[in-house]
Amino acid sequence: MTTATIPIKLTRKDFVSDQAVRWCPGCGDYSILAQVQKTLPDIGVPKENIVFISGIGCSSRFPYYMNTYGIHSIHGRAPTLATGLAISNPELSVWVITGDGDGLSIGGNHLIHALRRNVNLNIILFNNRIYGLTKGQYSPTSRAGHKTKSSPMGSIEQPLNPVAVALAAGASFVARSLDAHTTHLGETLAKAAAHKGSSFVEVFQNCVIFNPTEWGELEDRQKRDEHILYLEHGKPMVFGKEQNKGIRLNNGRLEVVELGNGITEDDLLVHDETSREIALLLSNMEYPDYPAVLGVIYNVTRPTYEEGLMAQIEQARQKNGPADLNKLYRSADLWTVSAREEVQSEVSGEVPAGLDEQYVDEIDKETAESSEVGDRLAEESLAALQPNVPISIDATDSLAKAIRKMNAHNIGCLLVTDPEDHLIGILTERDILMRVAGVVEDLTAAKVADYMTPNPIALKPDTPIAQALHEMSIHGFRHLPLVDEENRPEGIVSFRDIVHYLKPELS
């Protein structure tokens, strides 16, 4: 099981599957696939212990082309599946293949939590700064101003910096490489495989169809060395085709300097891959403002998630003895659920087959009338109270006329309507008490409009009685007007109608 002895020396061909590769001709993914297949024979893990898990996207077709175990999983969730697998079998070498969209947009959360937990994974993020599989929409790493199919006037979003995200998430190994630089890519992948814990490798990758110029001169074999800072642990940061430029730390800021004229390698920053501070500084160097930083940016050893978890399980075993799931299950409060008696429910809960096309309220109508008055108040509508015909008055009429009208009809409530018979107010004896009596001496000069309650709460006749009870209770109304769909008065119900409705129950 262990990695100490492998009887047969594997080669790249052993990791090539029989599947036809379906990436566009010229895609950077080919280079990464070839380098992974070339690196794996040397990482000292048997083929059957290697798993590739991907999300969704062009890069995520990767597992098909690897002659290993693999899962083409769901969008953004490759780190999640990989975490479960790595925990369940720590012997495995688990590789996560993701892209800038899959890993940083849809799966952003999954990625950062896998990194901070330091699960033993090798996460390769193919960064082409575009959604290729869906044909050219801008991605979370697309440059501000980048014109794509979904940003025709230029992206207005600040891009994510994958290396900075990984460092912020607490990754213990962060590196970067380039698809076109095969030797560098192979070496970087080997270092990632050797690291225990989460290894994060960003690969600058070229989308030949939708974003072919993204990496500019980095893709040009003749010119790229002028623009790449190859990191080496313990070495000063020198770069350029002639090795004539370097990175200097000046008052907390990184600056590009030319060697000579009194500046020597001793003035340059020396890379220390165990320094988080240097890693954070390097993560802020973004091509083309600075040279592209390639190589191992950060590499420290800290306990992996699996180690911590297994240690706790072992500790619990020693303390409590072998686990018994059945016993654990029965140690909690248990109770027996007996079959329910037939319960009358308002909604049956099941939609009979074939009734899709109509709302099921048709079959849900009440069939039998309830005999209990308490239920009837909730079930029956205000129409069951046999509402009285309302007496109306114009808003322009005088209070004197209104009071005469109320006294003549022996009522305590008038509905105020406009010329089109719409309900616009209500005038009750309470309004007379609160605003008129003892205050207004000349009732003929006072207009109803000035003393009524405007825009009163009015209900439709099909409102349940119980709801009217609540309106009356909350607002202190003795009367509630009923209106039709056009807000024309249809009737009026009073507290007395409700008492009358209860009369048969009172003796």
């Binding site: 909604v347 939609v351 899709d356 096309e357 709302y359 099921v360 309220d361 849900d364 209990e372 008055v373 308490g374 108040l377 909730a378 004197a400 009071i403 005469r404 109320m406 006294n407 305590g412 004896e429 309470r430 007379i432 008490l433 609160m434 008129v436 009596a437 003892g438 001496e441 009732l443 349940p464 119980a466 709801q467 009870l469 609540h470 009356m472 209770s473 909350i474 202190g476 003795r478 507290f495 007395r496 409700i498 008492v499 009358h500 209860l502 009369k503 129950e505 009172l506 003796s507």
Partner: protein
Amino acid sequence: MNLKQELKAEKVIHLDLSGYCQVESGTPIRDVLAQMRAEKHNVSLVVADGKLVGIFTDRDVLRKVAAQPETWDLPVDEVMTRNPVTVTADTSAAAALKLIEEKNFRNVPVVDEDGRILGDMTFRAIIKYLADRYPIQILNRPPNPERFPRKPEGG
């Protein structure tokens, strides 16, 4: 227990009987009206020597006072209903409601054996008692309670 049984078992003293004003016999109508407005009550119970002697409601205001400014400075005794029908603390809610329904009352004062006021059973006390029975059906009622999804939720 159903509503019918509950109304019979419930004593009026357990209802909310606080919705009234109390004024002394002889108080000018103008002052009674002001007190009713200030305390936002529709009814005044009139007492003399601590005992209930009359009742004055917004219906009396409408019928006898509002359009008759000449009454405003008279004592309330002139327009109140004298010796109103009362119930006692242990009268059942059903019996009090029956009284209200049959005699067309809108208030029934609740008094002890000495005629001292314990409260007033108003329309609001009754409505509140009934409304409190339907908290969930009414307050949590969706706009279209009979609506039913056509298909199970998909994702």
